[in-house]
């Protein structure tokens, strides 16, 4: 049985396969637990990417420090 790669499954779930390719892949997924697992992993990865996006957004919204703040702290500490 020919298994699908992660990249091919990305194409499948993003509707980037030809109609025939999609029908074949769909049929394969119904009888191949290995490929079905790989597809599920891609969904899990979406969750990680969403967390990553949220984290970057939150941290990017933190305003820049006042000028010389870090230097002033260093002076204070030395």
């Amino acid at each position: 049985m020919k298994h699908y790669t992660k990249e091919e499954l990305e194409c499948y779930r993003h509707h980037e396969m030809s109609v025939l390719g999609r029908i074949n892949c769909s049929a394969h997924l119904k009888q191949c637990p290995e490929c079905a697992k790989l597809l599920a992993e891609l969904d899990e990865e979406d969750a990680l990417v969403a967390e990553l996006q949220e984290s970057l957004l939150a941290f990017n919204q933190v305003p820049a420090p006042p000028a010389e703040a870090a230097t002033a702290l260093q002076r204070k500490s030395s």
């Binding site: 996006q53 984290s55 970057l56 941290f59 870090a70 702290l73 260093q74």
Partner: protein, 200 residues
């Protein structure tokens, strides 16, 4: 998933490396700021919080020795650098300093008068959430040095910025398949980075 601290940075700071102090400031300032925000502090108070927390770490030499007197009594733990417990120190210091700022703001005397945002359970939950975000942000930064520039760009544009895969492929002169390969490689690398941090 347990997230831990970038221990190599702490080690460099402990050895008195000035550049690492700056890196330390830049690494942890956003974290302190966001925790302060969740505690209901104003932006002005947040800047003060950052300064106070950093000052405490600098002046009391928190990173090179553990001083139990500086840790609130309600927080019990044993500092063991080998187990990466710096985040508990940081959490305790931030919470202490946030209380001081509340006190300064309203002359609160009783701990019961502390706003809901800074109450223990809420603070713990917010802290865990911000810490997780901090680690993911750090992992993304570390990713840049672990994969090729083109791979990183493909991942950033497609997965993080959410641009259409075909646009990203055309912009970077890659095939759609290569963009997916880049994404999968970066996800695997990010997971490795986080796993590595967990070990430290």
């Amino acid at each position: 998933m347990a997230f831990t601290t970038k221990k190599s940075l702490l080690a460099k700071v402990r050895s008195g490396d000035d550049i690492s102090w700056t890196e330390f400031y830049e690494t942890y300032r956003p974290l302190i700021f966001l925790v302060g925000k969740d505690c209901g502090l104003t932006p002005f108070e947040n800047e003060e919080l950052v300064q106070q927390v950093m000052s405490e770490i600098f002046q009391k030499d928190i990173l090179s020795r553990y001083n139990p007197d500086e840790v609130p009594k309600d927080i019990t733990f044993t500092y063991d650098p080998a187990k990466g417990r710096f985040r508990f120190f940081l959490k305790a210091i931030i919470r202490n300093q946030a209380f001081k700022l509340y006190h300064k703001r309203t002359n609160l005397v009783n701990l019961d008068d502390i706003p809901e945002e800074a109450a223990s359970e809420k603070f713990d939950a917010d802290w865990d959430e911000v810490w997780k975000k901090h680690i993911l942000t750090q992992a993304m930064e570390e990713l840049r040095s672990k994969v090729q520039a083109e791979t990183y760009s493909a991942f950033e544009m497609y997965a993080v910025q959410g641009r259409p895969v075909k646009d990203v492929a055309a912009f970077l002169n890659l095939s759609v398949n290569s963009v997916y390969v880049a994404k999968n490689r970066c996800i695997a690398t990010i997971r490795e980075i986080i796993k590595d941090l967990e070990k430290k």
